[in-house]
Subunit: 473 residues, 2 copies
């Protein structure tokens, strides 16, 4: 109770009323940006071009430098004040082939993808009995004798949710399943795909990368194939499988973040950072993940670039490299800016597909929270509500969190995002241009008002931690 | 006008009122069958077992005899009065591999399937410029100089509709596209998949089989790949592709229709024939096409078999062989029964997935049309309305049409059928057991009442032709 009184008092004493935060002119520009964005295609032509000309672009693949060159040219031709590359060096991985087949009691081919960083099997594959576990915890609890010499199958099913909250619990099987199976003498890991669709696509994705990661060959099978395997196992006869993976580990590859700036007129050194990642998995065409994000933040930047005036602060559009295989572009960016976080006002990345944004959340200083509320008021006509104070800013800004960077999340409806995520089915047709335009409108308003805010967002300070944020709700 | 008066008079004079056609006991049994079917799983366990143990089962493949043995055992164990095999001999085809890639102006792999009976390309594939046509008619109208030495791409899109009516116009590109392209000197045929989903699956299916069929290698690409190809072509630079197919043509293979009979107590020689086809394409697991039909008609038969009494007429459950590659089981059945069509009362095949039935249509004699109306009255609680008089009975009964066989269609909602048809995505999870049960209920009522009808359906007579049926509506 006392806490609440203090909180209210402090709000009354230290921050201006919501209505006073932005000037009438700045609000008028925000509204113009919003309407112009809604009248446009949200950057659909950009993601159409990226997915058509470049296609899938795994970090370190032959498509990686083509994508970087495409991005540099695009941003330069759009007329940003500065465009530059920032190097990021990382280990990567290349898929040559994978197959997974049930051999007993009946033979059938499954739709499968090797997981990122899976080592190769011996040529011709490996074969063994399948032992099934409900989830990673069940595997962790298993006696080594159950696992030894067997192919471990983890059947956990991902739950669909608007906020994607089913992903975290389910993806553990992918992140460290092979490591756990290896510790008990398993032969290989096979998981039900971490996805919410019953379409017959396998998903892929990275495993947590460390010295143990490459212990066992690891694949995901499509959900209908996992269903069939479960039914076979339920019949009671021993089930055997054959798995073959051929893949290469690459120690070090250098790619680049591509950064474009609208240089601020008053405080050019202060930066509002919008992000998306340019790399994708090596299947599909990386349309939702994260071509959509590239389109959204670029369109937001273009709209601001086309204004007659420059914003007070600088706005940077960052296309991160190598997000999928370990946030390497984000790490490089955070390291490169280690001494500059007092100037990096706030970061917000679009990396959750093309569904409409329903909420704004922010990890900012107390004094900046009313700014977020004032921004939300301008996002409300887009159907965007005020969320909590536990934002991450998106995956590529996670490495900036230890530097205390303020972060904003524009949360997208991701109910169907994991129907397509990291599969061959992540293609342009899954993007709705109207929903993309809603996203671009929100990012344009957010970037503009963040650049015009008279208040510091608090980067570099010790920002509200999670527990305090929860108590303050 | 005179036609109508004659029709009404003839109806009044020659047929009993709808209410009098079936005895109260027969109607009571029909209602009991309907309720029992709705309380069951519609044969879901049967299609689950077929798709789990056997999987895809292209006619002439190694799975073909396994499927026949599975079927013979299932029907025998269910206790049908007679179960037997009926041979059918046909040419068939085996897929070894296919790939399709765009090579210029950018390189990318497309998801592709060779079309049935496609010949192999030279090992290593063939390569050429792509020339795009809107549809088969545009290809037919093209100058040979446009086509010669090029890879022909037909981009026509199938329209989704409850009755599947978009399939016929679109599938011409598959049926005879290669033949037309060959006649103009084309190098290969590539079509947009004939399907209504934007999921990244290619479809397959047979080409019209004759001496010219194997003229050119022919593949379908997935719809997202067709979209990307169209966008590339729209950019204006020449587009080149590489296609490789390895496949084998098999002159003659003998498979079997599997037939189970509930022998009639009064008129055992008179037959009500329910059909489905046991074969499938070699992709997916043949769940909707046509494992669902197998489940539906078998469950209908099982329910009748479990009655305390046998029906007046015999009911046969026919699992047709080799439907997909040319109705060969249906042809063999029609030929085997050439002298017996006066006894084959009526045929009805379930071969349109597992969607709910919304309508009954029938090609029967005038005197039997009131029987159809009386049957429809018992189907009405299932949401089934009375349709027209232009039924085919289903694909495998088409070869029986020249013999004048009466035919009934229980029309299913197929709005989503072509989302999955002939793709890797035709798997068990696409079947809704409740909708399957509605189907089984309808077939059980239909079979029972058809077997108890005091009126002949008119097989062997000259049945109402299409034009007359249209006039009579």
């Amino acid at each position: 109770m006392r806490f609440w009184i203090l909180l209210c008092l402090s709000a009354l004493l230290t921050v201006p009323a919501v209505a006073d935060i932005f000037s009438a002119d700045d609000l008028a520009v925000a509204r113009e940006l919003r309407e112009q964005a809604l009248a446009g295609d949200g950057g659909y032509e950009i993601v159409a071009d990226l997915t058509t000309r470049i296609g899938p672009r795994l970090a370190g693949s032959e498509a990686d430098p083509r994508a970087v060159a495409w991005a540099e040219r695009l941003l330069t031709e759009m007329g940003f004040d500065r465009v530059w590359l920032e190097p990021a060096t990382f280990p990567t991985w290349h898929r040559n082939l994978e197959r997974a087949q049930i051999t007993e009691p009946v033979a059938f081919d499954m739709v499968t993808l090797a997981l990122g960083f899976s080592p190769a099997t011996p040529a011709g594959g490996l074969e063994g009995e399948v032992v099934m576990f409900d989830d990673l915890a069940a595997l962790e609890a298993a006696e080594p004798a159950e696992v030894k010499g067997r192919i471990v199958f983890i059947r956990n099913r991902m739950r669909a949710a608007r906020d994607g909250s089913g992903y975290g619990p389910a993806v553990q099987a992918r992140s460290i399943g092979a490591r756990v199976a290896a510790s008990k003498g398993g032969l290989a890991l096979m998981i039900r795909s971490i996805g919410t669709s019953s379409n017959r696509f396998a998903h892929t994705g990275t495993q947590r990368f460390d010295a143990d990661t490459r212990a066992l060959p690891a694949v995901a099978i499509s959900n209908p194939d996992a269903d069939r395997l479960e039914r076979l196992i339920a019949m009671g006869e021993p089930v055997r499988a054959e798995i073959e993976v051929d893949a290469e580990f690459i120690e070090a590859y250098t790619s680049h973040n591509v950064i474009a700036e609208i240089t601020g007129s008053k405080y050019p050194e202060q930066i509002v950072a919008l992000g998306a990642h340019l790399d994708s998995w090596d299947v599909g065409t990386g349309a939702l993940d994260d071509g959509a994000g590239i389109a959204i933040v670029t369109e937001a930047g273009r709209l601001i670039l086309d204004l007659e005036q420059r914003p007070d602060r600088s706005i940077q559009i960052i296309y991160f490299a190598a997000e999928e295989i370990g946030l390497w572009g984000g790490r490089a960016w955070a390291e490169a800016n280690a001494d500059n976080f007092h100037n990096i006002q706030v970061g917000a990345e679009s990396d959750f597909g093309a569904g409409p944004i329903y909420e704004i959340a922010a990890r900012v200083s107390d004094q900046a929270w009313p700014v977020i509320k004032a921004i939300q008021a301008e996002l409300a006509p887009l159907g965007i509500e005020l969320g909590d104070r536990r934002a991450s800013g998106g995956p590529d800004f996670i490495p900036a969190a230890p530097y205390g960077m303020a972060a904003i999340d524009l949360r997208q409806d991701g109910l169907h995002y994991f129907d397509y995520h990291h599969t061959e089915n992540d293609t342009l047709d899954k993007i709705n241009p109207e929903e993309l335009a809603q996203n671009a409108a929100a990012y344009a308003v957010l970037a503009w008002l963040s650049a015009q805010s008279p208040i510091d967002f608090g980067s570099g300070e010790t920002l509200l931690d999670e527990e305090a944020a929860r108590a303050a709700e």
